[in-house]
Symmetry: C2
Subunit: 272 residues, 2 copies
């Protein structure tokens, strides 16, 4: 992988990189399309990273379909796919961790301890191997994007981190590989995330500035659907992820809701 990348760099070509855990969907494809638009070559990695799964999160059950993934990358015009295995990524003696002090102490980081250490470390490794000019991450994992931006800046990696907009189903549900676990009824309930976000955005547009009031309205919207359990609803600063009590300036709403057993996340800017 590194030889391939060095060759391109020496030939003056630019490389966009899209790291994934496979089981690709329209969201991933939009990242690849963005990569094609930004760079001469697009590299995709497929690696289900064990270190970002918690002890209660089922790594073994993570869906896989390598043939289908490769076919999709081929059709999308990706130039190279990097598929390391866990033994190559984490050989005996491996012991280095990249961690951030503040950004993981918000949103999903609170209910997934250690998750973002795993993400930061594996992304550092992948960026080191692939050595792209640009790396593209979906805004759906908004906290992940904020963490990677900060990490790349802090560690002086010299790589442009680009966020790509969330891709949604017709009814607004953000596309995710977790959606396939939803029953027909749960799929109906899953619309609550997008509806909570658009309801909140409308409230802000109508002049509401009290974050608690907006969050209460969003919570009511979600709770109106069966089989939903709110993990968090937050209105936060998009850089620091700190909670914002009064909406003025740029703020983002982020939420995590369990629908049945599937934990879904979504987020949206509340202000323009």
């Amino acid at each position: 992988m590194r030889r391939y990348s060095s060759g391109l760099r020496q030939a003056g070509k630019t490389i966009a990189f899209v790291p994934t855990m496979g089981f690709l969907h329209q969201g991933h494809l939009s990242l690849m399309e963005k990569g094609k638009a930004l760079s001469d070559h697009v590299v995709v990695s497929i690696f289900v990273n064990p270190t970002q799964f918690g002890p209660n999160e089922d790594l073994a059950a993570y869906p896989k379909d390598e043939d289908r993934d490769l076919e999709m990358t081929r059709k999308t015009g990706v130039d190279a796919v990097f598929l390391p295995d866990a033994r190559q990524m984490y050989p005996d003696g491996f012991q280095t961790v990249v961690s951030l002090k503040a950004l993981p102490k918000h949103l999903c980081g609170l209910s997934r301890p250690g998750h973002f250490d795993g993400v930061a470390t594996v992304v550092t490794k992948l960026l080191g191997i692939v050595r792209p000019h640009t790396a593209i991450f979906g805004e759906k994992d908004f906290q992940q994007l904020a963490i990677i931006r900060q990490m790349v800046k802090d560690l002086e990696m010299g790589i442009d981190i680009v966020g790509a907009p969330i891709v949604r189903e017709a009814d607004g549900l953000a596309i995710s590989s977790r959606n396939m676990y939803l029953t027909t009824d749960q799929r109906q309930s899953a619309r609550c995330l997008y509806q909570a976000l658009t309801t909140s955005r409308q409230l802000v547009k109508d002049g509401e500035t009290n974050a608690d009031a907006i969050i209460r309205a969003a919570a009511a919207r979600i709770s109106a659907y069966p089989e939903t359990t709110i993990d968090y609803i937050a209105i936060c600063d998009p850089q620091t992820l700190d909670n914002v009590p009064v909406v003025n300036g740029l703020v983002r709403m982020a939420l995590a809701v369990k629908v049945g057993k599937s934990r879904l996340i979504d987020n949206m800017m509340l202000t323009q």
Copy 2:
């Protein structure tokens, strides 16, 4: 710095990097000479990194002489000196830490908690900015060298880490900026480190394999000198730094001794 380095890389030139905390001495100059021998260009950084000083270690008292340092690098034929300040290296919002799980739990890491997190993080940053082909570190800071080797491998930085032999005074004392704090009497006592190492090496040559026996003999050699306090004496595996109870195969002795108030370190292979 990055532009300078990119320019050299695009012109097909190789870069050797010698990170320092300044107040240069013969030890540093030997690293620069090694860099010249290995690469087209040599870059030296001078940065007294605050994050590797503990709360009881006096950052403000760390010796500085920038004019003298620059003169020495000029005479040695260094191509560029990078002198960032702490505000550039650690701006507001900086929060990323690179840490290793096992290697810092030995030797100096035990009496300097957090020190090697600071070292690993700043070296990652400097390697990201300077982007050398090779980076050169002195074997005097043997644990630091082992940690950086492991980190560069773990995080896939794609940089050759080269160790350079310890430079010693005529009587064997390893050259260090801390030596200047020694009184005339303490300077005599400071010979104990090298003598403990050579005594131990001779014992191994004579057939002794019991690490405890060797360490006891080294301790006796050190304690024979006034104003000495042993911090640690260890016989360890040079890769893992784990203590080795029976000497067979490659082992290194590492020691830290306070002479007066100055904490001196040294190390040596006991086997060939």
